[in-house]
Amino acid sequence: MTGDLLLDVRNVSVTFDGFRAINNLSLSLRPGEMRAIVGPNGAGKTTMMDIITGKTRPDTGTARFQGHDLTRLDEPAIARLGIGRKFQKPTVFEALSVTENLLLSLKGIRSPFAMLMARQSARERERIAHLLQLTRLQDMADQPAGGMSHGQKQWLEIGMLMGQEPDLLLVDEPVAGMTDAETMATADLLREINRTRSVVVVEHDMDFVRALGVGVTVLHEGAVLAEGTLDEISADPRVIEVYLGR
């Protein structure tokens, strides 16, 4: 059974200074699946992402990705395995142009010495053109990323994630601070991305989660409270009590 799973997090617990941020949490994802994760503040959503990407080591439990033990690897090693992560606050390299941001994200050369000599290949040029199109940033290609709007930075960061060609994308609150139109366009973009890659989205915005139309996991106090479709979990009295009802 484990062999069929892309991501398999089992019985993980993390304690920070006596505060149990993650409490015996298990979560798994099949290849090609998109999952939305919801839960009130402090439910452990970000800590869970930290564990999967190597930023935080769990006290107990296992986390496996395509058979690799994630608890033994650091962030760059996990990124190279094929897990991409988008943070809540858009983080792009503001002093660099959109194209330069995308170029750095492309899967490939990671050794500093090789990068001294690296010249942009035809394939890289093609990849960048495709990513610019996907993120609708063609007109901004040569602009410094620091001068873009919040929504454009979010999209550039998603483009950079795609440049990594990850098998799994972790996306933390992608539509926070976006207009309704941008939110719906982002849902379209993620569905498009999900055609070729697995995605985990953490989001508060229920309209957005509905637009994604995917399975939902509800976290509460560091553990999974409920799993199912949005309609199922919306009807779950426990979920209503801790989250949706408030």
Binding site: A79, T91, M115, I128
Partner: protein, 379 residues
């Protein structure tokens, strides 16, 4: 692309212009120094050695800008690498004195005889060969920077904490080099040099050649630094400076990135120190003084951080100012330097280079980049 971006074409033109200017000025002064003394264009030995000193300092400033401007590492100890390069060259120059020292001993420098040492310590072996000295000039600073950087960057020491330990590094080296027992001449340092490669260090022709060599090596370092920062590695460097964590999640190891530029920078500083010693004629532990490192940061700030050219310009102008100011009002120089730094920070945050940019508006075609209509196919 932003025409002023350090990766852009304007910066390349600026760097080439600056490299040519440095070589031309050094060459011009060198030739002028060879004119007969009565000539109105004659440059005195004092002017030549002063110019050589400024250009050597410019290499130190360049090395500081590489790590501070592009990797965000505010180093307050870079003069340590400069001084180590100086000592490596000084060892060779000491051995060139040979039997012409006060004690007339062909194999031991005077200060060792004074300490009644019987033989050369192992780390002086081979120092009579110029090629070995030239290797040490870059290898010793590079090695120290490698060990120091590996420990610091791996442990994710950054910001003000890193600045403090760089300061501690140079201070510790200063105290160590003051010790007679270390074998580098104690507080007198290494001096009384006579020859370099058999040529008299006090002859006008030798001094002229040394000035030209310094100019050429500074220009070469400037171009090499530009190559580094304009490469894809240079983009990554800026990325690490501005959002280190993000680069980790892209699969990069920021510690390796910082280590590479840190070691390269230390080597440039060491080369500068070696050229400094040949022209100033002395190297002593005072070169490790924390104030020297701090001053080099001020040169970069005044010239314009993260521009390369600004570092060279800042080092030359501030030192020129120092020479003039100390001749005029010696006791007020430190106040002048302090006000210069505060004034730059407040009114010229991008230094002289920022001011030049402001004065010279960018040409129209570079302000509005053309939007390409052609798009890549489906992937």
């Amino acid at each position: 692309m932003n025409p002023f971006s350090v990766h852009g074409p304007r910066n390349l033109r600026g760097v080439i212009w600056m490299a040519v200017a440095v070589v031309v000025v050094a060459g011009g002064l060198a030739m002028a120094s060879l004119l007969p003394e009565g000539s109105p264009f004659h440059a005195s030995a004092f002017v030549v050695s002063l110019a050589g000193k400024y250009l050597a300092y410019a290499m130190l400033a360049l090395s500081v800008d590489l790590v501070w401007g592009f990797a965000g590492i505010l180093t307050l100890g870079h003069a340590a690498f400069f001084a180590l390069g100086g000592y490596a060259m000084g060892m060779y120059l000491m051995r060139e004195i040979g039997a012409r020292g006060v004690y007339g001993n062909a194999s031991l420098p005077d200060f060792m005889i004074f300490l009644s040492w019987k033989s050369l310590p192992w780390y002086w072996w081979g120092s009579e060969h110029f090629a070995w000295a030239a290797l040490l000039v870059v290898a010793v600073p590079g090695l120290l920077a490698g060990v120091f950087g590996w420990l610091a960057f791996r442990s994710r020491v950054s910001g003000v904490y890193l600045s403090i330990i760089t300061q501690a590094l140079t201070y510790a080296l200063m105290l160590a080099f003051f010790q007679n027992g270390l074998g580098f001449g104690g507080n007198n340092g290494l001096t009384d040099f006579k020859d370099i490669l058999g040529a008299d260090l006090h002859a006008p022709l030798t001094r002229a050649v040394l000035l030209v060599v310094t100019g050429v090596l500074l220009a070469a370092s400037l171009l090499a630094a530009r190559f580094v920062v304009a490469s894809r590695f240079g983009h990554l460097l800026v990325a690490v400076r501005d959002a280190e964590n993000r680069t980790r999640f892209l699969g990069y190891r920021p510690d390796q990135v910082k280590l590479l530029v840190w070691v390269f920078s230390a080597m440039v500083a060491g080369l500068g120190g070696a050229l400094y010693v040949t022209q100033v004629g002395i190297i002593n532990p005072g070169e490790f003084a924390p104030a020297n490192s701090i001053e080099s940061v001020i040169w970069v700030a005044v010239g314009g951080r993260g521009t390369l050219c600004g570092a060279v310009l800042g080092a030359i102008l501030v030192n020129l100012g120092k020479t003039l100011f100390t001749a005029w009002l010696p006791e007020f120089w430190l106040y002048g330097l302090g006000f210069l730094f505060i004034g730059t920070t407040l009114f010229l945050p991008q230094g002289i280079m920022g001011l030049l940019r402001h004065v010279r508006k960018p040409p129209a075609e570079e302000v509005t980049p053309e939007v390409s209509d052609t798009q890549g196919g489906e992937a």
